[in-house]
Amino acid sequence: MPTSLPAKWDGRPLGPSKGIPRPAKTKVVNRRPPARRWGFGHDLLCFVCIALFSLYAVAHADAQPLVADGPAISIIVEQRAGSTELYLGGNAQIVLEHLGTDPNLFLNDDGYVPFQQFQSGTWDLGDRLLSGVRVEDQGQPIPFEAMSLMLHPEEIVVPFQDAVDAVMSVSICAVLDPPNDLQLQDATLYAGYIAFHDTPIDDLIASFANLGRSGPEPIDVSVRTFRDGRLVSAFRQTWSEGQPLRLIDMPAGQQAWSLSLSAFAVPNALMALLFVAGLIGSVTSMRTHLRPR
């Protein structure tokens, strides 16, 4: 078998099928693997950066829970000695529909949100919104009283992370440029309530009057509970109209879901997998290149 190229090669592939002799294999010596453009330190740095970024993203995702894939209604409970504050936020139409409140209370004659009327206080509207709701602690009614209520155009993101944010979200001073043509389906409603009590509240369950009509679809409700400004629990539950709604403890039988934990853990677990996979790939590649043929 010839060991060199034919004297006249027509450019066709060399191989036995063509009947053309192929050159003998030559032993490769001192073959170096292709240099890696990025090193281990770079990979590690990327991983740390992504982990930090996801932490940052989680912090801000919590500050803006009323997003498209977020809960339909977000509730913040702030417990202090002698009082409990309750804040809720969600699409105005959904909130009014689920609480059985007449939407016309929140509209002027033209069918728009009357911001001008809100300047004289909105606690009456807040009381009307909660009028069909009974909130109780171990069977004892807890009389919540409205502090304020406000509607915002849904395209404006209003921080709603804790009670401090919530106080502003229910204030008219947070609506810097109230539109004249805001409709309920395009508005986010925020309402704040407070109840004073002598003894600490252990549990808080809201029950709703039977509205006597076919209720809307069940919705996701998130509840974040604070004690003196410190977050003590966060969970989601599916809530159907007419069903009781737990406001402090996670409802039994429903799967706990921690926004913060899962939002942090899932992307970081994926990144860790990718990182390990990348390491294995790098090592394999290096070994392949180092192996003599």
């Binding site: 106080v167 204030s171 001073c173």
Partner: protein, 165 residues
Amino acid sequence: MTVYLNRRTFVVASSALVATGLGAVSSANAQTTHMVEMLNVSPDNPRLRNVFEPRLLVVQPGDTVSFVSVNPSHNSASADGMIPEGAEPWASQISQGIDVTLTVPGFYGYNCTPHLGLGMVGLIVVEGDGMMDNLEAAQAVRQRGMAARVWDEIWAEATEQGLLG
């Protein structure tokens, strides 16, 4: 020892005495203007929202309190049942300040109209005879929402300052 006064010395000395006396009288009747800011966030505690700063003020009869609209959407309005008998109630437009001159001694409660339920309230104490006359009535007014808690704090501050007798 004998002191001799010439005419010039006498005139200068007399003028000085008169001027000093007039100054004393005018300072006793001076009308001071106090400023109260209407704010979204307390400068002392960022966790406190919608506040009057200061929320407790002690003034003399005839003093003027100037409410300054620092942040929009606030106003100042005297609280129903929380001003002395014979005193003039007041209310500013939203996002506008107002100057209020207080002549009747007593306790003046006031609030921001849209933020009353969120506890944006304040107290002015005008010292003088009869200042305690409306204290009981002012304290008995039922407060809305968060204002109940803030009023408890304000009355406690007033007690600490010895304003409630």
